[in-house]
């Protein structure tokens, strides 16, 4: 245990406290726990509030480092000044009132409203540019829609075919056991056809495409956002929406219905395999049954659904992509959100459309 003897200068005022404090700190730099610091105030005769504040701060520094601080040779005047300006920490604390339930509810609602209007603004903007660039040749990018369509559609073919096949197959298998008990074998064709075309086909295709292409669109836009590429586009006088989003929009509008057709056909084929092998239905009667049960309404449902879904996938990907902030981490976060949100909204839209078409016959 050692002792440090520090001599304070003749005056401690606003003009020199910072330097003096730095010096004092420097002096006790090597002090260890339990050491004693002796502050000699013998010379000190001019002290102001800043000086007192500095001494207080030094005191708390010593306490923090568990040093013993002793002040020596303090004259009465100096003592009085110290007393006068001594800083006492406030004893009671007033907490900011916690926001009440309704305040928080209102805040949430307000934020939600903000997101909603932002989303609506984006959607209307994309629609606007989609229509404008349909008629304006200058706004179109040569071959971009085709390129995007190939990227979205072609590479998704195998996986969507496989999933659709499995779904049709399982659907038929599960119902075949029940139908056989009643000798209603042939109705497996109706069941698989209607379920695939008006429900499963559009839904699973949309979910697969949301996972595959929705995520990649969101990630691409988000990466461009965080690496300032979107800013660069704007600086060049190019609006990112018509330049980047509209070709993808058209590509999705083209490919999703086509992929759904494929999923429907393969799903029904999967059902047919069960029908032929397990229920002993010939191919030709199965085919006729499928054709007879599928009406114009089912085709309409599938078209409306897949077009709606493609819009939903694009809008969520664009919305989250454009919201990205920060580096790679931000990109990852918005990509996940985009996929989750687009699958959620696809299922919500599916339920709503299902309900609507249950009650309403399409008139056109």
């Amino acid at each position: 245990m050692s002792e440090y003897h520090l001599l304070l200068p003749e005056q401690l005022t606003l003009s020199n406290v910072a330097e003096e404090y730095a010096l004092l700190r420097q002096d006790i730099r090597k002090a260890r726990n339990g050491d004693t610091i002796i502050l000699d105030c013998g010379r000190l005769h001019l002290l102001d509030s800043a000086g007192v504040a500095m001494l207080d701060q030094f005191n708390s520094l010593c306490q923090q480092r568990e040093l013993r601080l002793i002040e020596e040779h303090c004259s009465a005047d100096i003592g009085k000044i110290k007393e006068l300006f001594h800083f006492s920490a406030p004893t009671s604390k007033k907490h900011a009132p916690r926001p009440s339930f309704f305040e928080r509810l209102g805040q949430r609602g307000y934020a939600l409203l903000g997101h909603l209007s932002e989303g609506l603004f984006l959607i209307s903007n994309i629609f606007y540019w989609a229509i404008v660039s349909f008629f304006n040749k200058r706004l179109r990018r040569q071959g971009e829609v085709i390129r995007q369509s190939l990227q979205i559609g072609l590479n998704a073919l195998p996986i969507i075919g496989l999933i659709a096949f499995l779904i049709g197959f399982i659907l038929a298998l599960q119902s075949a056991v029940q139908l056989r008990q009643f000798g209603a074998n042939i109705y497996v064709a109706d069941l698989v056809a209607v379920a695939m075309v008006s429900e499963m086909g559009p839904l699973i295709t949309a979910i697969m495409v949301a996972g595959r292409s929705g995520s990649s669109i969101a990630a691409e836009i988000a990466t461009m956002k965080v690496s300032e590429e979107l800013d660069a586009l704007q600086v060049m006088g190019i609006d990112p929406l018509p330049y980047l989003m509209v070709p993808k929009f058209y590509a999705l509008l083209l490919t999703l219905p086509l992929l759904t057709v494929l999923a429907n056909v393969i799903g029904i084929l999967g059902g047919m395999i069960i029908g032929v092998t397990y229920l002993n239905i010939e191919i030709i009667p199965f085919y006729h049954e499928v054709i007879s049960v599928l009406r114009y309404k089912d085709i309409m449902i599938f078209l409306v659904k897949s077009i709606t879904f493609s819009a939903i996938i694009l809008f969520t990907a664009a919305y989250f992509g454009l919201k990205a902030e920060g580096g790679a981490e931000g990109v990852g976060r918005v990509t996940t959100s985009a996929v989750v949100a687009s699958i959620f909204w696809v299922i919500v839209a599916d339920s709503i459309l299902g309900l609507i078409f249950y009650f309403v016959e399409p008139v056109f």
Binding site: T223, M224, S227, E228, E229, D231, A232, Q234, V235, M236, G237, I238, D239
Partner: protein
């Protein structure tokens, strides 16, 4: 002429600009210096309305950039070339496509003319023959120079350079400095250069301003910069550790 008046900008709690007043005159090469993180890039982005101020306004040729419609904004922006600090090249395109993009979008030049123009600008930044490379295959300094080629390919009226020479070797940096000077002399364009590099400040600047804690604290030519009696300016120019600015991290 660009007129910036009383510009304020903060991100959440963090105040970045607190009342910047700055006039940029036609034909000059204005250099903006300041410590890292003091808001130089933010200031540049405000000039092109890539960020919106909380308070204050910016006039470009007496047009308030915040008030113009979308269409005019794009027209206004076409007069600008902007070299981003991170170059901001499009990864999905080759170097030639990157540089040619503004030409393809905004002019009716034939592919051959565009190709010629791209080659000319690439030559200018010292990277001839890199047309078919991808941005991922370039080094940081090369990206920067491609970004520079893209910024000047439309022969803009104003060019904003965000740290054009950081990440380049001294010789390349000197040649970029020369390029900036030549461009502004030949094409009579107005340049705003953000940099930390005191060497390039001395060569390039016709006027220097220093941004510090959100305000312009120095405005004058290079000579005045060296003779300034402002302690902050002196410390920055001489690059010493002692002085009013402590290099310790600031609490955000």
């Amino acid at each position: 002429m660009i007129k910036i008046h009383n510009l304020h900008k903060s991100f959440d709690e963090k105040v970045v600009l607190r009342g910047v007043d700055l006039d940029v005159f036609d034909g000059e090469r204005l250099v903006i210096i300041g410590r890292s993180g003091c808001g130089k890039s933010v200031l540049l982005k405000h000039i092109l309305n890539l960020m919106q101020p909380d308070k204050g306004y910016i006039l470009v040729d007496n047009i308030a950039i915040r008030k113009v419609g979308q269409k005019d904004l794009f027209f206004l922006r076409k007069q600008f070339g902007f070299l981003f600090q991170g170059a901001a090249l499009f990864d999905s395109m080759s170097v030639a496509e990157n540089v040619a993009l503004p030409l393809v979008e905004h002019t009716d030049l034939s592919p051959a003319e565009i190709e010629r123009k791209v080659a000319e600008k690439l030559e200018l930044v010292g990277l001839p023959g890199t047309q078919d490379l991808r941005p991922a295959e370039l080094s940081g300094g090369m990206k920067k120079r491609i970004g520079l080629a893209r910024a000047i390919v439309m022969d803009p009226k104003y060019v904003l350079y965000d740290e054009p020479t950081t990440g380049l070797d001294p010789i390349m940096a000197a040649s970029i400095d020369k390029l900036i000077i030549d461009l502004s002399n030949q094409l009579k364009l107005t340049s705003i250069v953000v940099t930390h590099d005191m060497q390039s400040v001395e060569k390039v600047a016709t006027r220097v301003v220093m941004l510090h804690v959100g305000k312009i604290i120095f405005n004058g030519d290079v000579q005045a910069l060296h003779q300034s009696d402002n302690a902050v300016v002196n410390q920055f120019v001489s690059g010493s550790i002692e002085g009013p600015i402590q290099p310790k991290p600031v609490k955000y």
